[in-house]
């Protein structure tokens, strides 16, 4: 069968399938911006690739290449228009939301924390390294660091002097030998020796990694440097034995067997070595949250106050903020701008410092509040007064923000609506309640929900003011003003070092609570929008 040539249509030039202007980016400015952004993407990709290659993280490298290729393809191709809009948002969502959540989740299934940070091999190296002790009766040598040959590449050698006899030795990776042709300074330090290059401090610094690795083997252990001018003969007291998967002490014979479930070496009495390693513990952290008697006993009480606190802060700050906004929204008011700036002023001060100032103002004997009103209230000594103090601080810190957003929302409501209501004979309060307020809520409801979610986990509000106090005498773990996040912080970090795995498991629970409340609230705001 003969092929028939189809005549090429020459009226419109063929569109390129890929290229900088292929998707119709015609204006020079658009083109330049696109070049710039793609260039930055390429630069970031190259910058991120080096550490990934250096650590041999090939999966990470493949993801990096794939994501960069996808970005280039999407923005150089004439098609996939929707993807051009979706990609930035999706990438940021993954990087800033999904990855942290996944990381938290994966941490929740481990015992990651103080004493359990690295791998088993790192723990073994740490145990052995920490047990190096000077061989009893051995010499502490005066040391000169040198190389056999070129200072930059030659093998490291130790030029050693016995401080008592002034006898000189050379220590290599093969062992210790007498050094014949050494020149020594008055204090015995070798200053030169034929065939060896004495290193200056810059050369030592450049070879630091090799010096750390280097040691001179001896019959009883090895000679290691301690700084630049001393070396000692040391031997690790504890060594790992592969056969029994245990660590043995040379002098006492005591053994610590590896326990893979907990990531520790334990002896017969159940005492563990300080250095452990990270292991997967399955659902143990979650089980501990649910079954821990301390958590169970206090959880409900804390959750109730937590919700009450977050809700209370939103209600009082919004209530006062709105009231002030309404009062200052009268166009005929003189000095309106001055009042507004004065109200916003506290909002501009650092909240952390303000909380500490407030805490001191509540001091029983020396605080401003008790002195001013002639009271003698131990504010953080009883639950109601401590709660009141915390809410008062939050009111002072937060109503200005609510004032700000309410003022904005009020000005966005068309004046003719309320004027029409007045013409119809509605009294001002009635008009406000039936027209202004519902319209305000439509605009502000998402802000109020986010304010609730923020205050639900407002760690500093509690920690810097009351620290959770008062605490019942029989339970130092759960204070009357503790919220979940301060309470769990104490459990996870106040104890035997940081327990990130346990903390992550608790955060998962808190996340579920906040997510549930937020989803339900957002559903409710849809009902509000019906008013529109």
């Amino acid at each position: 069968m003969a092929r028939t040539d189809v005549p090429v249509r020459t009226t419109t030039p063929p569109k390129p399938r890929l290229g900088l202007g292929a998707d119709g980016t015609a204006s020079p400015l658009g083109l330049i911006i696109k070049i710039g952004v793609l260039g930055v993407v390429a630069a970031i990709a190259v910058w991120a690739a080096f550490p990934l290659i250096a650590t041999g993280n090939w999966i990470g490298l493949i993801i990096l290449v794939a994501v960069s290729a996808l970005i280039f393809y999407v923005y150089l191709s004439p098609r996939v228009i929707p993807a051009k809009y979706l990609i930035p948002g999706t990438l940021f969502l993954i990087v800033f939301q999904v990855l942290p959540v996944l990381f938290t989740l994966s941490t929740a299934f481990t015992n990651f924390g103080d004493g359990h940070r690295g791998s088993k091999d790192e723990a073994i190296a740490a145990v052995e390294g920490a047990s190096v002790q000077q061989v009893p009766g051995s010499t502490v040598y005066t040391l000169t660091l040198a190389t056999d040959g070129d200072p930059a590449t030659g093998d490291i050698v130790f030029l050693l002097t016995d401080p008592a006899t002034k006898a000189a030795f050379v220590g290599t990776a093969d062992g210790l030998e007498p050094l014949a042709n050494a020149q020594q300074s008055a204090d015995g330090k070798v200053t030169s020796a034929g065939g060896y290059e004495v290193l200056d401090i810059g050369q030592i610094s450049a070879r630091s990694a090799d010096i750390v690795e280097f040691s001179v083997p001896t019959a009883k252990g090895a000679i290691k440097n301690q700084g630049l001018s001393r070396a000692f003969e040391g031997t690790p007291q504890q060594a790992y034995n592969n056969d029994c998967d245990c660590i043995t002490d040379r002098t006492t014979g005591q053994t610590w067997t590896a326990n893979g479930d907990d990531g520790v070496f334990v002896d017969g009495q159940g005492q563990a070595l300080a250095q452990g390693w990270k292991v997967n513990v399955g659902f143990r952290n979650f089980a501990e949250v649910v079954t821990n008697p301390v958590i169970r006993a206090s959880f409900l009480k804390i959750l109730l106050w937590n919700i009450g606190f977050a809700l209370g802060v939103v209600l009082i700050t919004f209530g006062l903020g709105l009231l002030v906004a309404l009062v200052l929204n009268k166009p005929e008011l003189r000095g309106q701008r001055l009042y507004r700036s004065l109200i916003i002023l506290p909002y501009a001060m650092p909240a952390v410092a303000m909380m500490l100032v407030w805490r001191d103002m509540f001091n029983t004997d020396f605080g401003l509040i008790n002195r001013l009103f002639g009271l003698h209230v131990n504010w953080f000594g009883s639950a109601p007064s401590s709660m009141f103090a915390i809410l008062l601080v939050q009111l002072w810190l937060g109503y200005n923000y609510m004032f700000l957003v309410s003022t904005g929302a009020l000005q966005a409501i068309p004046a003719d609506l309320t004027e029409a209501a007045q013409v119809d004979g509605a009294r001002p309060f009635h008009a406000f309640r039936t027209i202004t307020f519902p319209l305000l809520l439509v605009a502000l409801a998402p802000l109020l929900i986010s304010s609730f979610a923020f205050n639900f986990n407002n760690f500093t509000a509690i920690y810097l003011v009351s620290e959770g106090a008062p605490f019942p005498p029989d339970n130092p773990q759960a204070g009357a003003t503790d919220i979940l996040i301060t309470y769990t912080y104490r459990l996870a970090f106040g104890g035997a070092g940081a327990q990130y795995g346990f903390a992550a498991a608790i955060s998962v629970f808190i996340f579920l609570i906040v997510a549930t409340i937020s989803v339900v609230s957002f559903r409710r705001t849809h009902a509000l929008e019906e008013i529109n």
Binding site: G39, G129, Q275, N363, G495
Partner: protein, 410 residues
């Protein structure tokens, strides 16, 4: 159009090269450098000056970074991320945690070097039979008294309270004693009273290391001690109050509102700026009680396990940081007791007060435990202390604190 595209592609290539370049520069310099992390305050600034001195003497770039907050946590995190400094300065009670995270190396100290230091300083930096840090300053709390109001040092807590009460009744002072407690307690400052009443926190093993399985808070002595502390509290003589905190003791004492203050030598620089006349004596015991033992805390320099320039770091810590002139410089900045005997002898000639702090420490001091389990103790015991000072029953309160502590020790 074609040339635009070409130039555009070359621009992309240029930015790509920029990405490469930033990484290539990292290992270019061979000039030796040493990175030191230290906490803030006067000690931090003095360390910067001393770091510069070491740099000049040895031809090294020394960079001293002041980490004002959470130095210990930041150091552990940085070590894990492979960005550790070469040397870190910190309190001796960090050692347990730093060792369990494999972030510091033991030092090989010769017997001569050890002999130059106060015994307690060397004991404090010894953990599991190894010396981990080069001590430089040490602290313990003492009793400051206003000599215009109280000429003679009280012989017992009862004597102190009686003198304070008399002054208060005469309207000369507002408070009997400025001892920081606060709403959540302060077990560090109450330790002399706690030990004098018969309490202890951890026992020691034969090796001298602290024993986490011997928790003194769970023993009857702790309850007995807190019964005595309660009698001094808000429902008793009123010498101890939760409204007195670390933030207001100095102003109470320096303005003459309180005739006594229990605190450490770090108050001396500020006190010298005020007009109050004062003297220092050991914290007195309860009449007929055990000795009142303040905690000894030691500041030390550590060689980081994962630093980049370990040989230089060891040189700095073992040979430079142990020099008497370094010790006196650090004393001058911090008013703390030099750990080195020779430096202490020099300092004592001009500053009798620091000598008195040192003597109180040598005679009565108790090393603050550095085992990781100690971290569990502070919070529950502090809250129990605050509750008892406020009038709670010592028996049930201390038992609850002890069980909270035991539940967390692993």
């Amino acid at each position: 159009m074609h040339s635009t595209r070409l130039s555009a592609l070359s621009a992309v290539a240029a930015l790509l090269l920029a990405g490469c370049a930033s990484d290539a520069g990292a290992d270019a310099g061979t000039r030796p450098s040493l990175l030191i992390w230290t906490g803030g305050g006067a000690g931090g600034e003095a360390t910067q000056a001393l770091g510069a001195r070491f740099g000049e003497e040895n031809g090294v770039d020394v960079k001293v970074q002041i980490i004002p907050e959470d130095l210990q946590t930041q150091f552990v995190t940085a070590s894990q991320a492979g960005r550790a400094p070469d040397v870190v300065m910190g309190a001796h009670d960090w050692i347990g945690n730093l060792v369990q995270n494999a972030t510091i190396d033991p030092l090989q100290m010769t017997d001569d070097t050890k002999a130059g230091y106060q015994d307690l300083a060397i004991k404090a930096v010894t953990f599991n039979g190894q010396v981990y840090g080069m001590p430089f300053t040490m602290n313990n709390i003492v009793l400051f008294r206003n000599t215009a109001l109280v000429p003679d040092a009280p012989t017992s807590i009862e004597d102190l309270v009686a003198k304070g009460k008399a002054l208060k009744a005469a309207g000369k002072v507002d408070e009997i004693l400025a001892l920081p407690i606060g709403p959540t307690g302060d077990p560090y400052h109450i330790n002399p009273l706690f030990t004098s009443g018969g309490g202890y926190i951890f026992g020691t093993k034969d090796s001298g290391d602290f024993d986490p399985s011997d928790l003194g808070v769970a023993k009857p002595g702790a309850t007995a001690a807190y019964a005595k502390i309660r009698a001094l509290g808000e429902g008793g003589s009123g010498a101890l109050k939760r409204s007195i905190t670390a933030d207001n003791i100095l102003s109470l004492f320096s303005t003459g509102k309180a005739p006594f203050m229990i605190s450490g030598p770090w108050q001396l620089p500020e006190l010298k700026k005020t007009s109050v006349k004062y003297d220092i004596s050991p914290v007195p015991p309860f009449a007929g009680g055990q000795p009142a033992r303040p905690f000894i805390t030691v500041d030390a320099a550590y060689v980081a396990s994962r630093g980049t320039n370990k040989a230089l770091a060891q040189e700095f810590v073992t040979n430079f940081w142990s020099r008497p002139d370094v010790g006196t410089s650090l004393y001058a900045a911090t008013s703390s007791v030099p750990a080195l005997k020779e430096a202490l002898a020099t300092v004592r000639k001009d500053d009798a007060l620091v000598g008195k702090v040192a003597d109180a420490g040598v005679e009565f001091g108790q090393i603050m435990p550095s085992i990781p389990a100690m971290a569990v103790v502070w919070d529950p015991l502090g809250k129990a202390e605050a509750a008892v000072v406020g009038g709670a029953d010592p028996g049930s309160t201390i038992t609850a604190a002890a069980s909270a502590i035991q539940a967390q020790i692993k």
